[in-house]
Symmetry: C2
Subunit: 254 residues, 2 copies
């Protein structure tokens, strides 16, 4: 176990993706998958994600619902200098605090842009909900923000990822979420009954079944996830045996 | 205007992505972007998306919140034959109806698998919320489902896309959402103030600013979206002039 005390509920996270461009299909989100994988390594399970447009009332409502539900909330998007970048103001509204100039963020942007280029639009990026702390942005300097259990990250994946690496030491993780995968050219419908019985025997594990098609052949990836390495290995082996009993070969990972 | 009456609120959509594998980062969702683009062409704006795990209570709550909020709801994922495929049962619960064998779906699966291979697990795919109609699945036969304003689609993108093409004639669209893009090697912070004024002059349009980096140069895509082609072209030209006034070149699309 890394962090967290035995018997405590394991920590959870929610991801709030902010931006019209994700909902319109203009931009393919890549931050949820990244955060999901990184958080799993810290033993933090993502329990919900939402995508909302650049509308203050929508952001405020989603922030308040998600911060009540999950241990941590990560927002992505809407922290640039343009009129549609309203995440900090909206999170401030959600917390009922003003959005004010953060002296340290101001100094960072002044160092980066110089006094001539730090215009009013760029200065908006130094405004944070009152009481917030900063998250370092080694890529493009304008910092991320933390207030309460909410982290405000950039939308651009390289910047969001750098910010997450800057902040992850602050998170209290749980036992790491481990996974093992059995891949076989077995149709889901053939193995479903046996797989359901493996899940019933191991209620503490999550067993998922993900069909795929490769070079015209139908196969299934059978994924076991959980925190107990011994039980995980046992369930994995039970699934492998199901595949063998169907006269098929399989590949194990994890 | 295609469909919809003048003065009526334009139709909206919500997307509910169901599956632990999306939240854990194992699988990169591709359905939201596809649905966002397809729906925009029909004049239907996606106003929210959620990703929830394979947990009945979570699915029921999200379905009920989203079907009250949007004209249409599209769920993806959780309609296969395995124990973690619980979308149809959960949507039935959300509507307060039983989930029962649908005679037409039964016939489709019987034709496809034959009586020997249509085991209990596969037969689950022919169960729908009572009163539902079917959405044709030309790829792998097991149909999608429509009940009320909720469409239940597959998670595998090729199948979800084929199902959407099967059902889209049923949707009442609005005026198509048009877009125009001005791409320029101008940093966001330089053009932000002027861009904000363009947005103020055209409150009926959505103007978004999306920075990018290409071969070490920083640029911005300035995207105008709306339903009035003349106003869209005017705002696009105003943005192009902002770029010219900064002494930069630009590329127009749309």
């Amino acid at each position: 176990m890394t962090g967290g005390k035995r018997g405590e509920a394991p920590p959870t996270a929610a991801v709030l993706i902010i931006g019209n461009e994700i909902l319109s299909g203009r931009t393919q989100d890549a931050n949820l998958a990244y955060l999901g994988r990184e958080l799993a390594q810290l033993g933090i399970r993502v329990v919900e994600a939402r995508v909302v447009p650049d509308i203050e009332a929508e952001i405020v409502m989603a922030v308040n619902e998600l911060r009540a539900k999950a241990t941590y909330v990560f927002t992505t998007g809407g922290i640039g200098p343009t009129h549609d970048d309203i995440t900090s103001e909206s999170v401030a509204k959600a917390f009922g605090v003003p959005c004010t100039l953060h002296p340290e963020a101001h100094r960072i942007l002044l160092d980066h842009y110089g006094p001539e280029k730090l215009n009013a639009a760029r200065l908006r990026m130094a405004h944070t909900p009152e009481g917030a702390s900063l998250v370092a942005n080694p890529v493009s300097k304008a910092p991320g923000v933390r207030i309460g259990n909410v982290y405000i990250l950039a939308g651009i994946p390289t910047i969001a990822q750098a910010m997450f690496q800057s902040l992850k030491h602050e998170l209290s993780g749980g036992p790491p979420l481990l996974s093992a995968t059995v891949t076989a050219y077995v149709p889901e419908g053939t193995i479903a009954a046996g797989l359901g019985r493996v899940q019933e025997r191991h209620p503490a594990l999550d067993i998922g079944s993900y069909p795929f098609q490769q070079q015209g052949r139908f196969g299934t990836q059978l994924v076991v996830r959980g925190t107990d390495a011994a039980e995980l290995a046992q369930a994995r082996d039970e699934i492998a045996r199901l595949v063998q009993d169907l006269g098929q070969e399989f590949v194990l990972e994890g």
